[in-house]
Each structure stands twice: as structure tokens, then as C-alpha cells.
Amino acid sequence: MADRRREVAEKLRFFDAGIWLGEPAGFPLAHELPLGRLGEALRERFLSGGLVSHWYGKVSAQDGNAVLMQAMEGCQEDVYAAWTALPLLPGESGRLPGAGSVPSKVKAARIFPKTHNFSLTSWCVGGLCEWLVSRHMPLFIWHVETDWKSVYELARTFPKLEIVVETQTQKILYHTRPVFALMCDCCNVRLELSNFAGQGFIEYAVREFGAERLIFGSFLPVNDPLVPMGMILDAKISETEKSLIAGGNLRRIVNEVTS
């Protein structure tokens, strides 16, 4: 049973939307993943690469982005950066999506509206969203950092914005009713899978919304990539659908980002 899973996992070339550097905040049992161990950690969990974020971006967007780029210098892995973003205000300095030049390695933006005290309304984040749309850059957001009404309104206001709702840092299970309703109504919303682990969720989501709407993510090193991986390896869906979810969808999004 293990050998077959290993073989399929290698073949699917998982591409992870949720790899985190820095010291995990709020998870007392989780340990920082040292950059020197990143490659080994990816390989031992069958990951071919992915998007890397930095915990420090939650403390300070600009400083977190700077630390992340410094950490990724010389990194040989097939990994790209997800920067922390803020509403674009005149005078906001530092390294931010939409403010000055953004390195080509940056392929996604993530916002923390609750932590950074801003509203997810168009009059507040509209400039940022327009900038992201112009670069085909996806917007990532933890579900605990917002409310469903705000995500819905944002998705409807910016139908060309790729929004990836992440299932962290608490389980998404209790939110399945609004999540599925949101997915039904807003084609530009995708769901990251690190904690999308209810019984039959993958089959249901593929059947109702399509495999294109699901993005593999692990939340490494807080969570184990083997968890969402197991959901995909054993899913009763086609090999093509597995391949899209494992990495095809995210690779396509990353490849379409313009610098």
C-alpha cells in the first residue's frame, strides 16, 4: 500500500502553495524549517516545489517580504515567493506588491486583513486588486483572516482576480456551507487544500466545481504534506484531475504571472 502511494506521489509532482519559512506563530509544537533543509524536506514529502512565504510577513509585510527574498537568494529549488500585500496607499514604503519593482520570483500575494487592520472592500483594497489583475497575480487569503461576505463581494467586484482561499489556520470544516456556496457563485475563487479534509470533500468539490478550482497546499512545516496528499492519492477522481489538483493548476497560475 505504501509503495503504490509513493510511486503515484512521485509521478504527480506535487507543487505546494503553502511552504513557510520563519518561526511559526501560534503553533507551539511546530518548528521552523531551516532554509538549508528546505530541499530535503520537500523531497522526503514528494514535493517538487511550490510557493514559499515567510511568517515574518504577518508581523510586518515589507520586512517579511525583504527577509523572504534574502532567504530565497541562491535557492536552487523549484520555488517561488508569495509576498505579503497591503492596500496601496500613498507613502507606504518598503517592498510590497504594487509598490515599485517586484522581483520575478514573486508569483503570488497574500493579505492579512484582520491582522493588519484593513477592510476587504473595494474602496480599500481596490488599487491592489487592480494591480494584481494587471499582472495575473493571484491573491491568497487565510479564511480566518476574513469573513465570507467580504470574500464574496471582492470576488464579484473583481471577477478577473484569482482568489485562493486558504484553509488555515483553523479547520475549514465548520465553514463548508459558506465555502461551497462561495465556490458555486464565484468562478474566480479557488480553494487551497491543506485542511480541506472532510470525508468525501475532494470528490464533492471536483464534481460540483471542477478540479481546476482546487490547489494543493500543505502549510509546511506546521502541517504535514502527507495529509492533503493522501486525500488526492486515494481520491475517486481521474488521473488528469489528480494531476491538476496536485500541481497543474498552481503551475499554470504561476506561469501566467507577468513581471
Binding site: 485542511n195 479534509a197 475532494i202 502527507l226
Partner: protein, 264 residues
């Protein structure tokens, strides 16, 4: 089904109110078990978990029988309805498929060390049946979890050393894990199951390094969590195959004493 060998030591069935579950009935669980090589599961329905076992045991017996002896059941002891639960337990004790008791201090609002649980422990001690309990870490956003932190079970674990206690969810994702590991090390009668969203990186490797491997049981928490989310976590973990075999089957058969009887 012929090569099924896994035992899921922590499952549920029935429609939960708290979330949308596309697959939650016993038939769906059995179908998934067939697909994954899970021979049998041990658990309860959702109504029992919240209310207690007074009304639900005949239904659970019926589900067991209809499942061909694969969906074993636990009787949920609600300390707020202790006498009714004990009467129901006495009736069900020798029914086919009965595998033990379950307690849930967080749902029932009664702290794990409370004397109101003693009738359940006494019942388990006198009849050599195990108790599965919910356990978790103290949580900022779910204060009721404070009632189920592993250390709170210690007085009754010590008082009833022959009762096998399974700490469901192995103490959760926070400091409760350390307490759970300590109890499993210090007390012969304490075991840990892997059910729930304890998706922590290298969890299986860490537990195998921390407690004797015979103390760890595979569990899914279905349908809250899909067994597939945990199965690869164990199967692909960097631990010896012998440890995986114990976790996936043998430990549950030992704790719940269901290995020897061929059911139905």
C-alpha cells in the same frame, strides 16, 4: 475487502449539524473502508456524541449487524445523565459489536476529572472494557477544550489502573500533546489515537519516537475528517513497517479486544 486489514479506531456516522458532510452515512463509510482496505471501524453516531447513549444503542447495534460486523460501536456516557447511561450500558454490554465507552468532556461541559465520570470508569473497570475520550489542548478560540486537556484525566487514570483509556486526538495540536505523551509513557493503561485534525508535520515519526509504539492507534474521526487524510500520513511516514502494522491494526484490536471474536 479480502486484503482489508486496517482498523479505524475512531469514527462517526450520521448527519452532523455543525457542518455540511457530503458523505456521512454508514453506507458511505463502508464503501470508503472497502476502497482503503479498512476492515472495521470503531465509533459512534453523532446524536450519541452530543446526548449520550440512552436512546441510540439499539440503532448502533443495528448498524453493526447491517455492516456485516464491521462498524463496532461505543456507548457515549454523558455525566449529566449518568444513571440513564449506566442502565443503557448494562443492557448493551453483551450485545454484538459493543466495543466500549466514549466520553466527551468538552461537548458535555463537564471537566474530565469530575467525579460524575466515576460511574463510567467503574463500569469499565468491572467489565474490562476500554474508554475512548476526546482530548485536546487548551484553545483560545474554543474554551470548552480546556475541559478535555489530557492532564485532567490523570486522577481517574490513576484510580482505575486497569481501565484502558484512549486519549482521542492525542491531546490535540498544542501543549496538550506533551501531557498526552507523558500520560502514555507513565501509565500502562493510557493510549493515544491519531484521529482529528492533528495534521502536524512528522506527527507519526514524533509519536513513535516518544511513546511505545503499542500505545498509538490509527483513527480518522470520519466524517469530520476523511480516513484518507490520515492513512497516507501513517503509510508514508518515516517509521518501520512493523510500527505501521501495529498502529494501523494490532493496537486497536488489543485495546478494544475485538480481534479474537469473528463478528456476525
Amino acid at each position: 475487502m479480502s486484503d482489508a486489514f486496517i482498523v479505524d479506531a475512531h469514527a462517526h456516522h450520521g448527519r452532523p449539524g455543525a457542518f455540511f458532510a457530503p458523505e456521512s452515512e454508514p453506507e458511505a463509510l463502508l464503501k470508503l473502508m472497502d476502497q482503503l482496505g479498512i476492515e472495521r471501524a470503531i465509533g459512534t453516531d453523532h446524536v450519541s456524541v452530543f446526548e449520550g447513549c440512552e436512546r441510540t444503542l439499539p440503532m448502533l447495534r443495528s448498524v453493526f449487524e447491517q455492516s456485516g460486523g464491521r462498524l463496532h460501536y461505543l456507548a457515549v456516557f454523558n455525566p449529566k445523565r449518568a444513571s440513564g447511561c449506566v442502565e443503557a450500558l448494562k443492557q448493551a454490554m453483551n450485545w454484538p459489536g459493543f466495543a466500549g465507552l466514549k466520553i466527551h468532556p468538552s461537548f458535555h461541559g463537564v471537566s474530565a476529572e469530575d467525579a460524575r465520570y466515576e460511574p463510567a470508569w467503574r463500569f469499565a473497570a468491572e467489565r474490562d472494557v476500554p474508554i475512548l475520550t476526546h482530548s485536546w489542548s487548551a484553545s483560545d478560540y474554543n474554551p470548552a477544550q480546556q475541559l478535555s486537556t489530557p492532564g485532567r484525566f490523570e486522577p481517574l487514570v490513576g484510580k482505575f489502573p486497569k481501565v484502558r483509556l484512549v486519549l482521542g486526538h492525542a491531546g490535540g495540536r498544542g501543549a496538550g500533546r506533551h501531557e498526552a505523551v507523558r500520560l502514555a509513557r507513565d501509565y500502562e493503561n493510557v493510549f493515544l489515537d491519531l484521529a482529528g485534525d492533528i495534521f502536524c508535520y512528522r506527527l507519526v515519526e514524533s509519536l513513535v519516537d516518544s511513546v511505545p509504539v503499542e500505545k498509538i492507534l490509527f483513527g480518522s474521526d470520519a466524517p469530520w475528517l476523511d480516513p484518507r487524510s490520515r492513512l497516507s500520513h501513517v503509510l508514508l511516514a518515516d517509521v518501520p513497517a512493523s510500527a505501521k502494522a501495529r498502529i494501523l491494526r494490532e493496537n486497536a484490536l488489543h485495546v478494544y479486544r475485538i480481534g479474537a471474536k469473528k463478528t456476525c
